[in-house]
Amino acid sequence: MAVAAALALQTTLARYVPGTVALDLVLVVVVYVALTSGPVTGLLTGTFAGLVQDALATGVIGIGGLAKTLVGFLAGVIGTQFIVAQPLPRFFVFFCATLLHAAVFIGLYTLLDLRHFGAPYAAVAGQAAGNAAVGVVAFQLVELLPGAVERRRAAKSRIRR
């Protein structure tokens, strides 16, 4: 569900908000799910999300799937082995996950001589920073919103009393 929502958001934002075309919101969701649910769920989410994204793009089906499977699994492992509960470590995980994804994705395409990426260092670094920022904000929102709603309810009930 989250993957479908990310895909819908990705394809819609790319049209209406210039600059968001460089972000990979599906990857952000995969890493988020992996960090919160563990390596197996991360792996399965990565596989599903990658295959769907490959099918919707014009490339080879499986390359993005493989890259996201790997990223989902490794992010899940990191989430279980380390405490990734602060914005900075989360930013680092999202950043590294994007770099790994780009390395596998671009590496495989280049290895198979299917697509030439030139020297995409700046573009990849920009995408990694963007994905990391979106990932950290998503975490903060998901964690803070329920608490904020609770606090508001409690404040209202105190006023009534």
């Binding site: 099918a55 919707l56 793009a57 014009t58």
Partner: protein
């Protein structure tokens, strides 16, 4: 089980030559994208119809002035077109300006940042086929890579795997325009001795069999000597790919395509 089904379907092609998995996934998602696009369009039309009416008076005055200028320009262009038509008739050239096109709305952007694609709301039901060129009033947009029944995927000219036969309008120097994945194009295979200057207009040459001849691709932004046999030329696309809303799919086959189809038959 699911993996097997996916892998098998990925290797079987549908009648249009597209893998079944790709066709099914694209068809399903295109409908979702159509719904989302319709929702966004409704919100935008409500916004522009009510909240955005504050500056309508001044905008109307400015547009009226622009229209007057455009009408004068139109008359000049019409006179020029008449003259050209007469010359073409004299030279016995076939008039290729009457291209059969179908207008399409863009319903979604690319699903992944590594592939520069768009989804349009016209498909095989409207006569859209693979490798048909897609143009906008400003110039060339790209080509259809995956036609669905009610939607089609368009590869933008700025995609890394996109290319088009091109020529510099002023000097008629020929080359190949290729995308780089960013917002700029490269004009490759232009001879080191060719006459190319910054600001030159680059148009389609029509030799690729996809894009009709003479349509604007962009303007030369920089020309460098690469030291080899060819110049290193950067082209700024005429089309702003971030603000596209409506495009035209060219249904008329190019002469090169007609010739190729004829030789196949």
């Amino acid at each position: 089980m699911l993996g097997h089904i996916l892998l098998i379907s990925a290797q079987i092609n549908s009648r249009s030559g597209v893998p079944v998995l790709e066709a099914v996934a694209f068809g399903v998602f295109a409908e979702v994208q159509r719904g989302i696009s319709a929702g966004f369009s409704s919100v935008r039309s409500v916004w522009s119809g009510y909240a955005g009416l504050r500056h309508v008076k001044s905008e109307n005055d400015a547009l009226t002035r622009q229209l007057e200028v455009a009408q004068v320009a139109l008359q000049q262009q019409r006179a020029l077109a008449d003259r050209t038509r007469n010359l073409e008739r004299l030279l016995g050239l076939r008039d290729r300006s009457n291209l059969n096109t179908v207008a399409a709305d863009i319903i979604a952007g690319g699903a992944t940042p590594d592939f520069r694609t768009l989804t349009i709301d016209k498909g095989t039901r409207n006569g859209v086929r693979a490798d048909m060129s897609v143009i906008a009033p400003a110039g060339v947009v790209g080509r259809v890579v995956m036609p669905g029944t009610r939607a089609a995927k368009v590869q933008l000219l700025i995609d890394r795997n996109a290319a088009a036969g091109a020529l510099v309008e002023r000097s008629r120097a020929q080359g190949v325009v290729t995308g780089g994945g960013d917002d700029r194009l490269r004009l490759d295979y232009v001879s080191e001795v060719a006459d190319v200057m910054v600001g030159d207009l680059v148009v389609t040459s029509g030799i690729d069999g996809i894009y009709p001849k003479g349509y604007v691709i962009g303007q030369v932004e920089s020309v460098e000597k690469s030291g080899g046999a060819y110049k290193k030329i950067t082209v700024k696309p005429a089309v702003d790919f971030t603000s596209l809303e409506e495009v035209l799919v060219v249904l008329t086959p190019t002469p090169a395509r007609e010739a190729a189809d004829g030789s196949v038959e």
